[in-house]
Every structure is written in structure tokens, then in C-alpha cells.
Subunit: 293 residues, 2 copies
């Protein structure tokens, strides 16, 4: 078994991005890429993610801004924020951190984002272009997953891929990306979800198993084919007496047992997580390159 | 075995549409729905399809226009046509018949169509909204397929659906529609294509098998599970001494042998074909309802 070391690959890509920022922006007296995040309320997971994103930005030489609003901000006011960020030529791309409070319709907010600044790749036009295999911003987590497969030279063409979980931000887009006529891609993809029957049987047929169900330890060794590649997107805090913080992070996969059976596996933490952040940075760099033309 | 009689269901839906046209448009002195088709060149299949669409329009009381251009029309000129149709308030929706000649970039033309008039559902923003399960125009053939399943009360939730063929107009969108959290939907969908291995084995696990490969007679009885539901999207002209025209239409499925094994099957012709046309009419009606508000 080999680890798919997302931290290592993400660090390599960050070095590549930092070199591009120096060469294409700073050395030519062009403002470096500038990313903004809109954070509504104080959801702890959202705050953690935005902080990680800011850290990543600083490491590669991007400028990063965070726009913070209370959880009771009105939808109309939030739409004004979007309009402001769309129009601000200093900001190359931005994200609206999800989830939003229940009184705000997420799709209305996301559809208001200028698709050319939609570095999360959540706008319908970017999703549609992804389906059509046209240039677009790919959503960060699936983009990170396919990059990880690519950097480890894991063949996807003709392979049976099983994706567990059909969320709009991970399961559905990664299933689309891997079934497209592209590389990585060209896989035979089965998308499973909470209403699927015989998930264990379906999963056990996968050459590449991608798990994004949000259920800690759901995938056990009997659900994994010998020598399969396993990608674990889950992140769960579980109590632990072995760490200072009193908890440790675990995924959707029973790592200890599954790792003995598969050829490659992502650890949690240090697998998909760092690849997500670095994929957002890649999208930001791409957005910022518009000012080089 | 029961036939999934697309002709019969399409006729029922046409009666429903005609009643709506009378009640909501004609009886209120509002112009009936008006659909336009842009036809470039003289591809026989395209001309047949556009003629069938016109016939359907007349049956339900729509106004139908066809804009014909020679195969050597420039991309710039075709974009002007799109702009004209987008702006023309008399036209509720329009299609650009594909394929276009090789010197024209299809995606540039399609992205120029106003998404609110994109009754083919091919614009990236409509595809993205389909993925996100938001209101949109669904592409006609997949929309026809799910309608057929719906009208025959064929349960899709939790079923294993295998789709053969990943085209942008049939295979990929129908796989998305059936895996979404919706009804019909909630199926476990596997999308196969030319690079898939063991297609026969995968197909034989399907409760519902949707075949859109464009290979005449590809699906044989050994590839179909006992009592499966089989949807055949293929249409091929094969020479025949039994018909006046000298040919007959066949599908991607070996109907004679497969029909003995499955619970439901679409005939060719008279299965998916009529459902495609009527789905385009439904989209047009929906587009035209904007003027009722």
C-alpha cells in the first residue's frame, strides 16, 4: 500500500504556483492574484476552511481578503456584496463560503457571481461547461482528487470508478469529471448515494473508490477490492486521549483495515484536504491570468 | 413484456398541450407559443427532425418558423441570427439544429443562445442547473425518456440504471437526471462508453438499461437481465425488402430477442423518437408561459 500524500503534492503545486506568481506577476510589476472570501456567520468548519485558504494564499504570494458578515445579513445585502466583488477589478476571484444561513437561497447568491470570478466552480455555467468538457473553473475538491490521481500516474481510462455520495460539491462533479472524454477521465463511473441498494457490493467492484458520504468509518475492508485505489473525502473530529487537542481527524474510510488491502489510499488528514485548498489557489491563478493578456 | 409506447404517450401529451394552448393562450387572445428552428445545410437527418418538429407544432397549435441557411454560412453571420432570435419577442424559444458544419464552433453558437429561449437545454447554464436540480430546460431526449418511465409508473429510486453512451445530448444528461434527488431519479447510475471494459457484464446488472451508443443491434439478449426495463435510443435505417421505402428503422437493441427477456422495452420506431419531439414541445410551452405572467 502506498499513501496518496495530498500534503506532499499540494506543497509541490504551491511551489509551482509561487514561481508563476513571481515570474508572471511580481517580476513584471503586475499585482499578484487577489482572492476574496465572503464569510457569513461563525460556523466553525467554515472559519477553519477560510483560515486554511488564507494561509495557502500567503504561502504562494497571493493577496487574500475576507469579508465577514453577521449570520442575520439579508439576502439583498449579500447580493450587493456579490455585485461589489464582481465589479472590483482588484479582486481576481472570490468564494462565498457555504453553507449560508437558512434564510438565504444559496443558488440565488451563487448565480449572481460573475462566472469568470467563480473560483469555486459552483456557478451553473461553470458546472455546465465542466459537463461539456469546455474550459471552466472546476470545483476545488474534485479538481484536487483528479490532480492527485494524475500526479501519482494512476490510470483512470477504462477503470471502474465507484463514487459514494452525490453532493453538488464533491460526488456529482467528480463522477462527471472521471466519465468525460479527458485525461484523467474515460472511466466507467457508478454514482451511489443514500438510496442506493447493495452499496457494499457495488463498492467492492471498484478499481478506484471515491468516498464522500460524510459518514465516519463507513467503508470497511470487505467493501474494498484487493489492490483498489481509495480516496477518502470525509473529515470527522473524533475524541482522542492521544492528542493534546482531545480529538483527532478521521475519514469516511476505516483506514487501519482498508489500507492493508488497497494499492493506494489517501490519509485523513493530509489527503484530499490539502488538495482542495491548492486547487482553489490554482483556480485563482487562472482567474488572475486574465490580467496578463 | 410490455411495450413502452412512446407514440401513444406522446399523443396523450400533445392532447394535453393543445388543451393548454387553447385555454391559456387562444381563449385569452394571447399569441400561441412560437418556436423557431435554425437549419444550416442539408443534412438529411436534420431535415427529417426539423420536419417532424414542425408537424408536432402544428398538431398542438404552436406557430413554427424555420430559418434555413447554406452550409457555408459564416460563424459571425450565424451569431447574428442567434442575436436576432434572442431579441425577437415574437419567438418564445428556438433550436439550432446540430450538427453544424465543421467550420463553425458549436459551443460558441450554443453559448450565444439566451438560456430562457434555449428549449433544447444545451446551453451550459441549463446543463448546470439540471445538475443542481434547479428549474431549467431539460434536453429533449433524456426528458422524453424520464417522462416515459414516469407515465408507465416505472420506479427508478434505488434501481440500478446502466446508461450505454455518454453523449452530451442523451447519455450524460439522462445519467445525471436519474441519479439526482428527484422523481424520477434517485437511481444508482453507471455510465458506460466506448472505453468501458466488460460492457456486457455491466449492462446485465441493470434494472433499467438505457442504450444510446449509435451501434445497430449492439445489445443482445445475454447483456440484459431477466425482467429488466430497456430503453433504446438508437435509430438506424437498414435495407429491407418488406417495406415500400426499401428500408426499415432499427435500434441499438436486438429487439426480437431482447424483448422476450425484459419486462418493458421501447420499440424503434415509436419509442423514444416521438417522446423527444413532444418534450421539445413541452419546453416551448414552458418558455411561452413567460408571457402569461
Amino acid at each position: 500500500m502506498k499513501l496518496l500524500d495530498g500534503k506532499l503534492v499540494a506543497d509541490q503545486i504551491k511551489t509551482e504556483i509561487a514561481a508563476e506568481v513571481k515570474l508572471q506577476f511580481l517580476d513584471r510589476d503586475i499585482e499578484p492574484p487577489h482572492i476574496a472570501a465572503v464569510l457569513v456567520g461563525e460556523d466553525p468548519a467554515s472559519m477553519t476552511y477560510v483560515a486554511a485558504k488564507e494561509k495557502g494564499c500567503h504561502e504562494v504570494g497571493f493577496v487574500s481578503s475576507v469579508y465577514r458578515y453577521p449570520a442575520n445579513i439579508s439576502q439583498a445585502k449579500l447580493l450587493e456584496v456579490i455585485d461589489f466583488l464582481n465589479a472590483d477589478s482588484e479582486i481576481d476571484g472570490f468564494i462565498v463560503q457555504l453553507p449560508l444561513p437558512a434564510h438565504i437561497e444559496e443558488h440565488v447568491i451563487i448565480e449572481r457571481i460573475d462566472p469568470l470570478k467563480d473560483i469555486d466552480g459552483f456557478h451553473p455555467v461553470n458546472i455546465g461547461k465542466m459537463v461539456l468538457n469546455l474550459p471552466c473553473f472546476l470545483p476545488a475538491t474534485p479538481f484536487g482528487i483528479i490532480t492527485l490521481l494524475e500526479r501519482y500516474n494512476i490510470e483512470t481510462a477504462g477503470k471502474n470508478v465507484v463514487v459514494l455520495g452525490r453532493s453538488h460539491i464533491v460526488g456529482t462533479p467528480v463522477s462527471l469529471m472521471l466519465s468525460r472524454k479527458s485525461n484523467p477521465g474515460n472511466a466507467t463511473v457508478t454514482l451511489c448515494h443514500s438510496l442506493s441498494k447493495d452499496i457494499a457490493l457495488t463498492a467492492s467492484r471498484a478499481d478506484i473508490l471515491i468516498v464522500a458520504l460524510g459518514k465516519q468509518g463507513f467503508v470497511t475492508a470487505d467493501m474494498v477490492k484487493q489492490d483498489a485505489v481509495v480516496i477518502d473525502v470525509g473529515v470527522h473530529r473524533v475524541p482522542s486521549t492521544e492528542t493534546k487537542s482531545g480529538f483527532r481527524l478521521k475519514g469516511d474510510v476505516d483506514f487501519e483495515k482498508v489500507s492493508r488491502k488497497c494499492s493506494y489510499i489517501t490519509p485523513v488528514p493530509g489527503g484530499v484536504g490539502p488538495m482542495t485548498i491548492v486547487s482553489l489557489l490554482r483556480n485563482t491563478l487562472k482567474a488572475a491570468k486574465r490580467k496578463l493578456i
